[in-house]
């Protein structure tokens, strides 16, 4: 949808702008450009990110829950077969990486994997479809891939971070957790160094989770947008191979996020001295 009036950089900027809405001067209103969105500060919501991820999460849970309710012990049908295959895959991953016993980790891994997979999958919708439809409906901006919004990925990473801290404290006790942060690797005489090293170690977990997913998806989205700048009759020569390659990225990033979540929780469950 490159209209004549828009330059390439306008087009790109337009596509990278979330639908940011918030209360400003007493009334609810959505930002028209990046400057306005910035001016709203922290008390604003990216409606597109939240909406799409909510819908995708509900689709995931609805589909899985419907199968779970009617799950049969005998010969499974088509959708049950597929879901069981996914569940077995997740279960094997959890068993492979997570040494403790927890009722939370496997469902967490399943949610992380499917939800992120679906969010990433939105990347394969041609970049102009949904913004175009949104524009016709009077909505200026709409970014359809939630995982290209750092808010979404950092939000999930914070969730995982809370769980890591929670389980560290639960398994090792508050003293054990603090001891782990302060007394290694150099013993009590290297206390400041220890705090620095272990602090970085701890903080790096959610940051690496969030930025890895965000960076990959953002870069992929960016390339789709750049391809969309080409004349329409040559676009497919680039967008098709990139889309096919992106199917791999989409799955791989969801899998990496899931595996790292499992591994971090496994580390939180392990006592080491």
């Amino acid at each position: 949808m490159t209209s004549e009036a828009l330059t390439s950089s306008d087009y790109i900027r337009h596509h990278l702008q979330n639908l940011t809405c918030g209360f400003q001067e007493g009334h609810f209103h959505c930002a028209h450009n990046a400057e306005e969105a910035k001016a709203m500060g922290f008390c604003a919501l990216n409606i597109d990110t939240l909406g799409v991820s909510l819908i995708l999460g509900l689709v995931f849970l609805f589909f899985f829950h419907r199968v779970a309710k009617s799950v049969a012990q005998g010969v499974p049908g088509g959708s049950q077969n597929f879901i069981e295959w996914v569940i077995e895959f997740i279960d094997n991953s959890v068993r492979g990486s997570f040494s403790g016993r927890s009722a939370l980790v496997a469902p967490l891994a399943l949610t992380v994997f499917i939800w992120i997979f679906l969010m990433n999958l939105m990347d394969l919708i041609p970049v102009d479809y949904i913004p175009f439809v949104a524009e016709q409906m009077g909505v200026g901006h709409f970014k359809v891939v939630p995982s290209t919004d750092p808010n979404a990925t950092i939000g999930m990473a914070i969730g995982v971070f809370f769980l890591v801290v929670f389980y560290s404290v639960k398994i090792k006790g508050l003293g054990g957790f603090i001891g782990e942060l302060t007394l290694q690797p150099f013993g009590k005489f290297g206390l400041p160094v220890n705090i620095f090293l272990e602090g970085v170690n701890l903080i790096a977990k959610p940051i690496s989770l969030a930025l890895r997913l965000f960076g990959n998806m953002y870069a992929g989205e960016m390339i789709f947008i750049l391809i969309a700048l080409l004349p329409w009759y040559v676009q497919w020569t680039l967008s098709l191979p990139w889309a096919i390659f992106h199917i791999l990225i989409v799955t791989l990033q969801a899998f990496i996020f899931m595996t790292l979540t499992i591994v971090y929780l496994d580390m939180a469950h392990q006592e080491h001295h």
Binding site: T20, F42, C43, G57, G159
Partner: protein, 156 residues
Amino acid sequence: MNINATLLGQTLMFAMFVWFCMKFVWPPIMAALDARKKQIADGLAAAERGRHDLELAAKRSAEVIREAKEKAADVIALGDKRASEIIEEAKAQAKLEGERIVAAARAEIDQEVFRAKEQLRTQVSAIALSGASKILGREIDAKAHNDLLEKLVAEI
């Protein structure tokens, strides 16, 4: 692309989804998977047991057949023995019978001989009598000389 409260919304949504998944999605599916796993394991165990039973039955039937064969061989051997016994018995009886028949025949022969001798003796005495009467030229009174003649017959 700026950080705002979306982040908190996303975290909240994440937590709710995970909670829902943990409560209503994972356990029933996992329970069904475990139940099926158990069912399959039970089925395999039952099949194994069946195979074992079959093996036992085959062994048992072979045993029964072997016993039956042995018994049949015994019966046959017994039958053979009994048959030869019967034959021996029959032989002995036949021999006895034969001897009895031979003895009876011999007795009859003796009797016959005796009778023939008797007859011969009377005929000889008659011949002697007629000879003597011819020689003497006169008829001897058979009645008068009967006791003499009888004496003569006894002498022959």
